[in-house]
């Protein structure tokens, strides 16, 4: 308990400034360059400073969304079961299963030549493909054999037919939308898990055998949508801390958590900067001191805003003692009030 008391931040400590300095300093040393490590790992993620900027700016779509799918107890160590789930995850397009195709736009026929090796790799039969394609409106599928599929579609114009064919080639046969690639990895405790590039939590959760409690995605807005703001806050904090740790810097987690809290405490995700945390400050002067000075002053005059001059930036501007650190301490009782207190009888 005494350790807890000792660890508490002193009143008046400039936690925000110190957090900004603690994260900003290693940021200056990081290279503004994303490394794309080629090799065994099939999943490419954004790392280093670009990723930090991505998180802090609260970009709607991350450059490289990534998921980690853990599996429920019981099947996690059975490779066959894991592989079954893996087949359901990765999105496979028609075009990636064929070696070539012949089209006749006048007759409205499209002949797909399936590639054996690829079909075997994804454990797909020609029938699956055919049945998937036949669900499309106006598409007539007449399977010839296991290696070729013949499709008939007549559009109103030749161009419409052509568009339909392109759509057929780019239509998914199996898997979940948005998941470009998935691969099976083995953890230290010999259990299997699936990593993906591309993220779609909602759909992955529906698959039976997926551990919903340990589903991980680095897409902050998707986590916000699926799991809520607390999860998003934790994700921001952990993603930041992971990236910084990966670059070989040590930053106390509390600084990072403060940034995550500042970004999420309103219930939504705000970026750090003009359109978010800094742009929503209460003080007109503090906002004007940051960016778009004239805009803030003109708006303030239109709405008749009032600046209470409580913040740090405002007090430095007018030359008053700031309300932080040693300036935090004030007398609770006014000097004049002290005189009014009369000693009790007998004291």
């Amino acid at each position: 308990m005494s350790k807890f008391e000792d660890s508490k931040v002193v009143p008046g400590e400039a936690v925000g400034t110190v957090a900004a300095q603690s994260i900003g300093e290693p940021g200056t040393q990081m290279v503004l360059r994303s490394f794309h490590s080629a090799g065994i790992s099939s999943v490419i993620t954004t790392k280093g400073l670009p990723r930090i900027i991505e998180i802090v700016d609260a970009r709607k779509k991350p450059k490289a969304p990534v998921m980690e799918i853990r599996l429920e107890k019981g099947i996690e160590k059975k490779y066959e079961k894991v592989r079954e789930i893996w087949r359901m995850v990765e999105e496979v397009m028609t075009s990636s299963l064929i070696s070539s195709f012949d089209e006749d736009l006048k007759a409205g026929t499209l002949v797909l030549h399936l590639e054996k090796e690829k079909m075997a790799f994804y454990e797909i039969t020609g029938k699956t493909v055919a049945s998937k394609l036949s669900k499309k409106e106006g598409v007539e599928v007449s399977q010839i054999d296991s290696e070729t599929i013949k499709i008939k579609y007549m559009g109103k114009t030749t161009q419409a037919t052509r568009t339909a064919f392109v759509n057929i080639l780019n239509s998914p046969v199996i898997g979940i939308r948005g998941i470009i690639k998935a691969s099976i990895q083995q953890a230290d405790d010999s259990s299997f898990y699936i990593t993906t590039s591309g993220s779609n939590m909602e759909e992955v959760m529906k698959i039976e055998g997926v551990d919903k409690w340990h589903l991980y995605s680095n897409d902050i807005f998707e986590v916000l949508k699926v799991y809520g703001i607390e999860a998003a806050r934790n994700l921001i904090a952990h993603e930041l801390s992971d990236v910084i740790a990966e670059e070989g810097f040590t930053v106390s987690f509390r600084h990072i958590a403060l940034v995550a809290d500042a970004m999420t405490h309103t219930g939504g995700i705000r970026s750090v900067g003009r359109h978010g945390v800094a742009g929503e400050k209460e003080s007109v002067f503090a906002r004007a001191a940051y960016e778009e000075t004239v805009k803030h002053f003109t708006n303030a005059s239109v709405f008749g805003e009032r600046d209470t001059l409580k913040g740090v930036a405002e007090n430095i501007l007018i030359g008053k003692q700031i309300g932080l650190g040693t300036g935090r301490i004030k007398l609770a009782v006014k000097k004049d009030d002290l005189k009014k207190i009369k000693p009790k009888k007998g004291d």
Binding site: T17, Q21, I316, L317, G319, Q321, G325
Partner: protein
């Protein structure tokens, strides 16, 4: 079909412009080269074939850097022993070789097509050219340096930069020159170790350094982190001593309307008169005399100019014409002696005066020195000779260099030079340190033999004795001679102090920069550091008390900024003309901000509450 065709033919560019296509690119290029070597076409034409792009680039324009190579044909250098003999006997010259197609000049593009052998014995069947000398693949500036092949690549440009900044004998006619700024070393020396390019350029006539006796030793931590310890005896004898010249130029300008400047001692009635003392050294013509000592703020050239604006008519009619002081004063923070005065006439037949001020700069703590290997340092201590370490022969080093400055930078050239120059100074010879002119091991052996012959250690180390106690150091110390440059960064030209001083008119904040006696900037990051630490009063001291503190009157009624009427002795609010104002202590920058907001047609109002 189209693809096949483009593969076969080459697009030909002349000076970057496409001029057509050729079928057999290789033969086409070979023919141009053959003709060039034979002298049929100009030797300034270069041609390059780029097979990746199916392009042939012919360049004959100006501005290409080109480099000579000896042509190799059929596995044999065209520069035969016979030609060498003739060249030695001066029967032929270099230009003969160029004319006869023995040596040709290639530009950067054509160099991509060739295969160069560094030495004659390395020629194989694919070789097309032979390097004249390995040292030539660097430019003149680099080649004039020594032992650069022993240094890491990163040190080469650094050393080049330092040599550029070295003070030396920049021009022989310096005494007749009036350069705006000039640095002149008192006793420039020729380096004991130099290179062929250095001699070819006749750099030894313009040397910019001196041979220092350097011991690789610490001195009570005074030479940590690239600091240098100098021997005061050496400094007193003139080591690194230099003189700094600055020329002040002024002209009697003519203005439209028949007015003009006049060189004279300004009368006390002139506008901007600097006080009698400032003009005390001027002679009758308003110009200072040579060999007078002068201090900061004193006038060198007295000049009176007509007023900037046309005068208003006074009630007494046309009065005496007012004039403005426009004299040239010595720069702030400088002092010196008047070296020479030049009075001349400009092309526009106006009088021109140039005054050269000289100031002797003795090496002192804070001055910068560098060797030719990117090893720079700042003098941290000038030690009396009796406290310096000395060798058994009584030699006291001029400079103590920290040994730790060598391993991490890997400047082995510095050590090679130390050894070579030591051997040279003892043997009384100069040594050649041209790049790639020999194997390091053989050179070390050669220098070692000379040192051994004269009773020194082979590898240049010596037993040193502590000057303070007379005791021998436990370790032997690597001591030798290194050519050092005194760089033009000197404390005396940079040092500045200020407690109070001028402020800017607009913001009432302290000025910036040395010429304006400015303060040091307390920037945003510094501010954040104090905020982060929570030192609120120190922050207020920096941002307000030591900066632009101002007493501003603010109206209690309307919140607008007012002023104090000193005649009526009451504060006034210009907005409601009332006198109910409060004096507040705020930064002047805030008042300026309020004014600027007003200029946006926004009226800010300040509401106050007593604390």
């Amino acid at each position: 079909m189209a693809k096949e065709k483009s593969e076969r033919r080459y697009q030909v560019y002349l000076d970057g412009r496409s001029i057509g296509y050729v079928r057999n690119g290789r033969n086409f290029v070979e023919e141009i080269r053959r003709n060039r070597r034979a002298g049929v076409i100009s030797g300034e034409i270069n041609v390059a074939i780029i097979r990746k792009l199916n392009e042939i680039h012919i360049n004959a324009d100006r501005g290409r850097a080109r480099k000579p190579y000896i042509i190799v044909e059929n596995g044999a250098s065209k520069f035969s022993a016979e030609l060498l003999e003739k060249l030695r006997n001066k029967e032929i010259d270099y230009n003969y070789l160029v004319r006869r197609g023995v040596i040709e000049y290639l530009d950067a593009e054509e160099e991509e097509n060739i295969r160069v052998a560094l030495e004659e014995k390395l020629i194989d069947k694919d070789t097309t050219h032979l390097e004249i000398d390995p040292a030539t693949f660097y430019g003149f500036t680099f080649s004039s340096n020594v032992f650069q092949e022993f240094n890491t690549v990163g040190r080469h440009p650094i050393s080049g930069n330092f040599i550029k900044q070295g003070q030396g004998l920049y021009a022989i006619n310096f005494n007749n020159r009036y350069d705006a700024r000039a640095y002149l070393l008192y006793y420039p020396q020729m380096p004991i170790v130099n290179s062929s390019a250095y001699r070819t350029l006749k750099m030894n006539r313009h040397s910019s350094g001196q041979n220092f006796v350097v011991a690789l030793s610490t001195y009570f931590g005074y030479n940590m982190k690239d600091a240098l310890v100098l021997n005061r005896a050496a400094v007193d004898r003139g080591l690194g001593r230099s003189v700094f010249f600055r020329t002040y130029t002024d002209e009697e300008r003519r203005y439209p309307g028949g007015q003009q400047d006049h060189f004279k001692v300004p009368p006390a009635t002139t506008e901007g008169y600097l006080g009698e003392h400032a003009y005390s050294k001027l002679s009758e013509d308003g110009i200072i005399e040579p060999e007078l000592e002068i201090k900061e703020g004193e006038v060198l050239i007295g000049k009176v100019s007509p007023p900037r604006f046309l005068e208003e008519q006074t009630s007494f009619g046309v009065g005496e014409e007012k004039s403005r002081d426009n004299s040239a004063t010595l720069r702030t923070g400088e002092e010196g002696t008047i070296d020479n005065v030049l009075i001349s006439e400009s092309l526009g037949a106006t009088k021109i005066v140039k005054v050269r001020v000289r100031n002797i700069k003795v090496p002192e703590v804070g001055d910068k020195f560098a060797s030719r290997h990117g090893q720079k340092g700042v003098v941290s201590l000038v030690v009396p000779p009796e406290d310096m370490p000395f060798t058994k022969d009584g030699i006291v080093p001029d400079l103590l260099l920290n040994p730790l400055s060598l391993p991490s930078r890997m400047t082995f050239g510095h050590m090679m030079e130390t050894l070579a120059a030591k051997a040279g100074s003892i043997g009384g010879t100069q040594f050649d340190g041209t790049m790639f002119s020999g194997k390091g091991r053989e050179k070390v052996d050669m220098y070692g033999d000379i040192l051994k012959k004269h009773g020194f250690e082979r590898f240049g180390d010596e037993a040193l004795y502590d000057g303070r106690t007379g005791k021998k150091y436990d370790a032997t110390i690597f001591t030798g001679v290194v050519y050092f440059n005194r760089l033009l960064h000197m404390v005396s030209t940079k040092m500045i102090v200020r407690s109070r001083g001028p402020v800017q008119i607009l913001t009432h904040q302290p000025t910036e920069g040395k010429p304006r006696r400015g303060g040091l900037k307390f920037g945003e990051m510094e501010r954040d550091a104090l905020v982060g630490y929570g030192a609120s009063l120190l922050l207020k001291d920096r941002m307000l008390e030591q900066s632009d503190k101002a007493d501003i009157w603010i109206c209690r009624e309307c919140g607008d900024v007012g002023y104090f009427d000193h005649i009526k002795n009451v504060p006034v609010c210009p907005l409601d003309a009332g006198n109910n104002l409060e004096k507040v202590e705020i930064s002047y920058a805030f008042k300026l901000l309020l004014d600027e907001i007003k200029s946006l047609h926004i009226l800010p109002r300040v509401r106050m509450r007593s604390e």
